[in-house]
Symmetry: none
Subunit: 189 residues, 4 copies
DNA sequence: TATGAATGAGAGTTCATTCAT
DNA sequence: AATGAATGAACTCTCATTCAT
């Protein structure tokens, strides 16, 4: 599955053939078919696993137990940590086209994650910690901004860890107009 | 080429077959091969044309003649207008994987555009109109944030024009910490 | 038809496509189809015309009116003259594979020619002017020997006319053990 | 390769399609492509193998160790034996058109064989065992005469072995004016 | 359980033929 | 009558999948 993920990310699901995956994994073609009924199922498994790992990494119990402000910070850092640790998985999940080999249920994990994040954002809005506006759109923008950086990282060949991640965080926090209502600066105003 | 663009966007270059393109275009398979030597060349032509159209739309003479502050505003609006007018082309250009069918020279137009935008951003930074930091990264983030919105638009089925585009612009301007140094508010501080 | 002959000779009937023929002839593809119902018919016409021209050149009225000894000499020289004048037609006729595009009747002219030549040879044998043995085989050998020279000519790029055609004739005459029964040398023995 | 040889001989390389070859060989189309990268390479392999087998059959160590007179006789008989044993290979090699699918190096074996035979002929000429004249042309004629017989054999459907092969040999020996300088008859004159 | 040669449906491409101009 | 763009059947080649070893 690692080999498959790497190739799907580099070349698309359609653009990758099973012999290549087998070669990269160092096994025979037939062996892949002992664990997956077909290429479709392999694609689905790779996508689903990556998405689940991402979801689990981003929203853990600490996030769920925290107040929206802390939660947002944690989510952001988890996301960055995942992208640093699993750049291929992160990039693959961001491909624009997954429809060819995914049945609807494959999107459930992602949708659930999205709903949780939107909930956090909405709560944060309700206490004035974040800019007003459709929270789904706000999420898309904040996440999109980070995806933009990861694309730049891949294109330039510079690993994500070499970027000014704090500066990036500050910029995205400006994007959503984030301010900790408990911080002295905020209460002063 | 329109039919090809639509299908490449929906299904990936590898995931689209030539008879499908022909059917969508309402022509015979052989006719495609009168104008393109092979599927690769068709993909390249579609990509190159879309990229050139985008580049021309985003940076026009008005942008080139303007001061960096005005230029940034214009660029933003041009970009939005292009995405509204040509959602498939915009989305296709944002696919993460184009390497399979593009020879290096196909990236030249995009690189040139990027260099121009980075130049504008750098100028804006030098007069304090924009947040400090690697301008390439800043550009990736701002552009990425917008791409995030277009993805949301496609996924939700809501056309981009139905979004609060002004709100989005304001958020991204916050992202880059943009302030017009000539505006009264800015001079007041 | 000249263009077609040249290409069929160079590349085989199957290996030649109609647009190429049109291009070589300096006409449009459609124009070919005004004169020939299809490529098959064109091939047949080219073959039949070449064969008829050869047959007519080799056995003319002079040959038909002459005694077998003179006839043989004339036939030989006619054949050589034809190969010198129309090397492509000669070579094309000697291709081993014509079956794909010829209906049986296309072979009639060739068979008739062959029968005539065999007849001459048989007469010559009957007066002791030529070696004994199956005249068809003798003809194949004598003709084959000349074809061998024409192949050499094509392969080496040296025109047939530059060869020692008299020496070749003498050799082939030895092959069939030809001797003019009226010549002094022959009567002497 | 046997199936391919048979079909190439019957129908030309261009006139044979891959499914036909597969069917004749009793394998699937794809299997052919496991052993040959493409049809061109298959053609080349068939030609090269046939040519090498012919060359090896015609000039063996016995020929190389013998005096020119003996060598010529051996070469002749080897050639005849090859044509009797492998009529399709012999006929295929004699096709006039091979250029479409052969790269230059495919001709090397044939050229080498030719050079060896010409060498033998030249030696034979130097001791007066063979008619004077360009040995390449002499070779073309002698070989062509035999090819003529094989053509006749194929056209008539009579197997080569049913021909008067001794008579044919005598005729061709006359063609090259061959006489064993050690034979009593020769020494007598 | 692992292998990879074999399979054949289907993809990319060619080209004989047609027909509006 | 001549043209050549358009057509689609047929060809070359690929690759997901199977199965004897």
């Amino acid at each position: 599955m690692d080999a498959a993920l790497a190739l799907f990310d580099e070349r698309t699901w359609d653009g990758t053939n099973v012999p290549e995956i087998a070669a990269r994994a160092g096994v025979a073609v037939g062996s892949i078919y002992r664990y997956f009924p077909n290429k479709l199922a392999l694609g689905e498994a790779v996508f689903t696993e990556a998405k689940a790992a991402f979801a689990e990494a981003v929203v853990d119990d600490a996030v769920r137990g925290a107040d929206p402000v802390t939660a947002l910070c944690l989510v952001w850092r988890h996301q960055v940590a995942f992208a640093v640790a699993h750049p291929q998985a992160f990039s693959f999940l961001e491909h624009q086209v997954h429809g060819a080999y995914l049945r609807p249920h494959a999107f459930e994990v992602g949708d659930r994650l999205n709903a949780e994040l939107v909930g956090i954002l909405r709560e944060a809005q309700s206490i004035g910690a974040v800019r007003a506006g459709d929270p789904e759109v706000l999420l898309s923008m904040a996440f999109g901004a980070f995806v933009g950086v990861t694309k730049h990282s891949r294109a330039s060949g510079v690993p994500l860890s070499a970027y000014d991640l704090d500066g990036i965080e500050r910029a995205v926090m400006s994007l959503i107009d984030f301010k900790d209502p408990n911080s002295p600066e905020a209460t002063a105003s």
